[in-house]
Point group: C2
């Protein structure tokens, strides 16, 4: 039998995926599972986007332009301008999700064996895209005690080698919910300029900033034009995860012209989804106001409920819709499986994401979980109640 | 300024892309351009697929399952069964176009520096996906005199090294239109079994077989279960290029389980497009009968018109909707640019695809072009007339 590649063998599989069969089995046994594990919001997609697809008049479903139409990218540039990000249509490449934006970016700036420094815990799929490109992720640890703030800049400095091509941040962070301050972004600017690195910022949760805090984009920094690369997506902003439309934004022309070659090789982003994404740009501000208010309330509910559980430590997220909690258990991979497999309370249980998948340093985050607050407040409260009862039962 | 990767620098750009600005300039000057250069059919997408999207009731546009829903893959398996390809839903991974199917396949079976043997001329983007994965394409030349039939098996044998992981064919072929015979597929089976290689077949043009000829899938061969990988797509079959839905099909479980990890890292194929693709499986046979009849007539028109031009040699394609023609010019890159930039006949001109982009051997195919018969017969006739007049003018 012909052999699988080493790359294929090393492709990581997230601990969440391993839990899916246990969740399915629980459901088959009549147990209701509250999903705190996923980044799939329950929020309705803007009507204007849904209508654009329902009312489409396409007769031949043709390829879209590889980088997205001029019209779409111009409207998108306009949206960015409203968010203090001054770019033109030529600085933008539409991609099939933020996933593809990352893949093209990594392909354009790294060769096999190169390194990218990422504060951990980080979005698990960064590992997947890096492995697929033969690139090594070099983690720099951020701590729950510090609310997962940016690690000391000396910690980055120590890890930079001739193989280092970029620092990658997620802002606000998945899984931490941490929102980087202007000062932190400024520090990152200084270090990438000093070492001539790219600064890649995954800003797909831009809108989800709470407590009146401001989001600071790497694209807004002067002097960073050739270094800053922004990854974006319509998935979370418009609750359109299934559209699979994202984009790469950068003022570095050489980089954009390289990434376009990757885009051309795969021909085009999905046409129906582009239609929805272009229409979504007309979503009224009231939609976002309602959504942000809802998430802020959910976060408040979730955090205050979690803090009531003895032995639980929880970081206070200022953005996105996740938090990382430390549980009084040794291994959350085991606990998350047990709670699906061997526990229920009044025929209800919860599914959480073990944090081990968000760390690349072996052994880190073993007692942490990521909780997504993508459920309504009543369900969130009930979920935390189930978690508390489960933790008590698990200790015995 | 931080540097671009070597991989990014080597990403090929097809000669067709380089011609686009000249075509745009011609149009701006009021010249009508007949596009013989593209694989975008003018055929209407099946109504059942268009309606499924128009009548969708989605309110939260959620992620689809990474490998595509059970329902979709089961219906797809059923379609394959009707095409003498006996597979189950578990043998199938839905992808974002045939492009992604190839990317995941190459990632699953090759590491940087590995080799894939491909009969040339071949689909230009095979180069792009290989470069993106750090893999070397090893071409084995097929000839216009032989109608681009499978090269002698000894020619493959000579090229096989310890780095060779797979042989990749496109059947029926883009750009050649060649349809491999049962005997040729059998020969490929023997050589991949002998050297324990994968046999990847891009079968996206399966339906487009003319003159009553039968398409022979690598999936139908006994004893090749662990070696055969089929790449497929809805793009051409249902004239749904903009959907971006394809799939990987293989009975090799280890391979499928590896490719699924790549699929999970990018989360999901596009949801609206999956809806259209699932509905498209109910397209009545009459749709295909009409389409195949139309293409067969176009091919007959195109080939007989081309054969009338002095100095033009044309292969006789039995499938897909392309042919490769040899023109009485030295360099078709130059000619294709000239015909857009400096020529028109009654304010009309044509755009053809220089064949150099379909060869990886330097200097091969310099006097060949690919012509796609994706225009109606009247336009095709007029296009060939323009080509003939242009060739006469060019010689002077």
């Amino acid at each position: 039998m012909p052999s699988i590649s080493n790359k294929g063998k090393s492709m990581p599989q997230s601990p969440i995926r391993k839990l899916v069969p246990f969740a399915e089995a629980a459901k088959k046994n009549g147990t209701k599972v509250f999903h705190l594990n996923i980044g799939q919001p329950d929020i309705k997609t803007p009507q204007v986007a849904l209508d654009a697809v329902k009312n489409n008049t396409i007769e031949v479903l043709s390829y879209a332009r590889s980088e997205g139409s001029e019209t779409y990218r111009e409207k998108l540039a306009n949206y960015y301008a409203n968010n203090d990000i001054l770019v033109t249509a030529n600085n933008i490449i539409a991609t099939t999700g933020g996933s593809e934006a990352l893949l093209f970016t990594i392909g354009s700036i790294t060769d096999p064996g190169d390194e990218i420094i990422i504060p951990e815990p980080f979005y698990a799929n960064y590992n997947g895209f890096s492995t697929a490109s033969g690139v090594n992720v070099v983690p720099v640890i951020s701590k729950i005690e510090d609310n997962f703030a940016l690690p000391a800049i000396e910690d980055f400095e120590k890890l930079i080698t001739s193989k280092t091509k970029a620092i990658l941040i997620c802002n606000p962070g998945n899984p931490t919910g941490y929102l980087y301050s202007e000062e932190e972004i400024e520090k990152l600017k200084q270090i990438v300029l000093k070492h001539d690195l790219f600064l890649i910022a995954d800003e797909v949760y831009r809108e989800f900033a709470y407590d009146g805090e401001k989001h600071n984009s790497v694209m807004a920094l002067e002097g960073l034009e050739n270094h800053a690369i922004m990854i974006d997506s319509v998935s979370k902003r418009y609750s359109m995860c299934g559209a699979r439309i994202g984009c790469i934004v950068s003022k570095n022309e050489v980089f954009i012209n390289t990434a376009i070659k990757f885009a051309q090789a795969r021909l085009s982003p999905p046409t129906y989804a582009l239609l929805a994404s272009e229409a979504a740009l007309d979503t009224p501000q009231s939609y976002f106001d309602d959504v942000i208010e809802e998430y802020e309330e959910r976060r408040n509910t979730l955090i205050s409920e979690l803090e009531k559980i003895p032995g639980v430590t929880v970081a206070n997220p200022k953005g996105a819709f996740y938090c990382v909690a430390q549980l009084p258990v040794e291994n959350t991979d085991d606990f998350a499986q047990w709670i699906l497999e061997s526990f229920h309370h009044n025929n209800e249980t919860v599914m959480v994401a073990p944090a081990s998948g968000f760390y690349s340093t072996e052994g880190e985050g073993k007692n942490q979980v990521r909780i997504a607050y993508v459920l309504n407040k009543t369900d969130l409260k009930r979920s935390v109640e189930i978690l508390q009862i489960a933790l008590e039962a698990y200790k015995k």
